[in-house]
């Protein structure tokens, strides 16, 4: 059992939890993920590590309430226990030799982009962060990003905060103005990452994307998290849990990944509605 030491509401649907898991905290690196089951009968869900504290033995997770499993996770309060919590899984983000980096985060993906920006900042790299949200109400971690970035660009779809538009607009402007990054790292919805890759492509700068496919075991056993890389017109199958979650953005077959991400959406919608009904009736803890 893994105790929730702190719980914070970042916006209406995005929650932060600090979980006591000393063995995981000891090893965690930016870009890695954990798998948890909130209750004994819960689904296993992967969540990227949003922060860690070796001294306190804690891992920070940030999740959006999107389905039945995250709804149930959110039912847990400070002091409650998460039933299962395993990690750190996957490979850490590659940081070596990178002096100037642009970190692009979208929505709740910013929760994962933050520790990566912080890591680069700590290593002395020059960090530009471009973060995008739908509107002002959904903005999270602004102060944290400020502290970790040399330049922070805030975007909202509706212009209610920062600049109006999506994250590729300032990215394109920066690149066109001649700013040279050693690496662009994109973390967020698949569609956003796909367009970040297309924006950067003409400038011949490496792009890393953080993939978050459906997983079960997360240790290289079930093959559920597979995705295709296309290298010189040849497809190569990779497993996000052991080969990733970071991949070369130019090689990822995003269209396949987007379709695969919808594999269980019918089930998920029904499960979410059912869970909402149960909660509304107070029929479940």
């Amino acid at each position: 059992m893994y105790k929730i030491l702190n719980k914070k509401v970042l916006n209406n649907t995005v929650i932060e939890m600090e979980v006591f898991a000393p063995l995981v905290a000891e090893k965690a690196k930016p870009g890695q993920f954990i798998i948890l089951r909130s209750h004994e009968d819960s689904e296993r869900i992967p969540l990227t590590i949003a922060g860690y504290d070796i001294d306190k033995g804690t891992i920070k997770i940030i999740f959006q309430i999107v389905g039945a499993s995250t709804l149930r996770l959110n039912e847990l309060k400070e002091g409650d226990n998460i039933h299962d919590f395993v990690g750190p899984l996957g490979l850490p983000t590659h940081t070596e030799g990178i002096k100037k980096v642009c970190v692009v985060g979208g929505g709740v993906g910013c929760a994962i982009a933050l520790p990566i920006a912080e890591e680069f900042h700590t290593l002395g790299a020059n960090v530009t962060s471009i973060v995008g949200f739908r509107n002002k109400e959904l903005v999270i971690l602004e102060d944290e990003f400020k502290n970790a970035s040399d330049t922070l660009i805030m975007m909202t779809d509706d212009g209610s905060y920062g600049e109006k538009g999506n994250v590729t607009i300032p990215l394109k402007n920066l690149l066109e103005s001649g700013v040279k990054y050693d690496m662009v790292i994109a973390i967020g919805p698949l569609v956003m990452m796909k367009y970040v890759v297309e924006t950067v492509r003409p400038f011949n700068i490496p792009v890393t994307v953080s993939m978050n496919p459906i997983m079960i075991d997360g240790t290289g056993m079930c093959g559920c998290c597979r995705l295709s890389l296309i290298k010189e017109n040849k497809r190569e199958m990779k497993f996000a849990c052991v080969d990733g979650p970071d991949f070369n953005g130019y090689e990822v077959d995003f269209d396949e990944a987007i379709q695969r991400s919808k594999q269980y959406s019918d089930f998920e919608r029904k499960a979410y509605d059912k869970e909402c009904n149960l909660l509304a009736k107070g029929g479940k803890n």
Partner: protein, 463 residues
Amino acid sequence: MALIPKKHEMPIQGPLERTTNFCEVALGYTKEIAVAEAERCLNCKNRPCIEGCPVHIAIPDFIQEVKKGNFNEAYAIISKSSSLPAVCGRVCPQEKQCEAMCTLHTKLKVDGVGIGRIERFVADYHNENSTNSIVPPKSNSHKVAIIGSGPSGLTCAGDLQKQGFSVTIFEALHTPGGVLVYGIPEFRLPKSIVKKEIDNLKALGVEIKTNVVIGKTLTIDELFNMGYEAIYIASGAGLPKFMDIPGEGLKGVFSANEFLTRINLMKAYEDNSYTPIIKSKKVAVVGGGNVAMDAARSAKRLGSDVTIIYRRTFDELPARHEEIEHALEEGIKFNFLTNPIEIIGDENGNCIGIKCVKMELGSPDESGRKRPVVIENSEFTIDTDAVIMSLGTSPNPLIKNTTEGLSTTKWGGIMIDEDTGLSSRENVYAGGDAVTGAATVILAMGAGKKASQAISKKLLNKE
């Protein structure tokens, strides 16, 4: 006494009934049938059956006890050699092992004694009726770490703990049991039986730490620093193999590991499960091993029309006979001498069919099996909305990648000394699928037993 040529049939759930539930198919011998089957044993002098058993159970001895109705004595004899009798009685390919060596079969050309079925009866009888509480053995103060709680790890743990070692098992998943819980379906091996066997080991004093991934959460070297004197790696099968044909990324294409893990470990077949499973109208399973049969029969129970695609013929199917028979009875179709070349999808990325070619058997390959050869211009398409790939697995890379000095083969299996299970690292032993690639439960158990003997010898001689 007249010779009975056939082994006694085991009562089973009828095919029509059982394809609508996940309850165990084979119901097990009654006392009377078990004794009658035991009576078929000639108790011959040279005891060839023992040689056929990877863990060398004293088979004729326990069968003699069953003849006399001394079921607890029979259990005691089995458990000297096997930590998981109720499991082996259900999942071992006995017809290729002990029962194949039985004198009745080799000399008199009739069915060998139904050793597996008797073993299963004895184990179930014991689990239902035993009141003996398990007493943990006296500790010899040596600590051993075991990685993985599948059949190989559990066997090694049981054998060492019985000798007084303090054993800790590290398990990556949230429930111990390895392939016995995530791979083999409830209808073939009820999870309550696995749990009972694991509880017995815990009562002996074996400690099991779940949610620890060795190679990630902790490394082999850290385990030594924590005071473990020897380590047995039984981390099991790794990444599922695919065919490297177009369309394997389509929705509706699964590895057997994914499909079975959802069903078995996550109980996705239960109506109120939080883990989803796709219930497809038509399912094609590619492969002919036990895992293929398990996937096919599970899909059938979810209401699918199921076809197995296998590139050789019925005679080459590697699965256990009983599973093939049960699959046939349950209405699973077989497409032999058939090999997929492409999975076809619609505009939304959903699987809608599988394009195959017909094969014929050519000359035998290095494994001695006739090699299937493609027949020119034989392409055809099977309509299906799901494909389950059941082609085996390659060993998990996590430990190899984080353990310096651990030699592996070019396909990733840990290299060991065949007699002891010792790897290229001192005091690190390995066995089961992590070494061999996908094999059987009993072979993994045999490897666990061998390693336990080597570890015991090494650590006790040190004193």
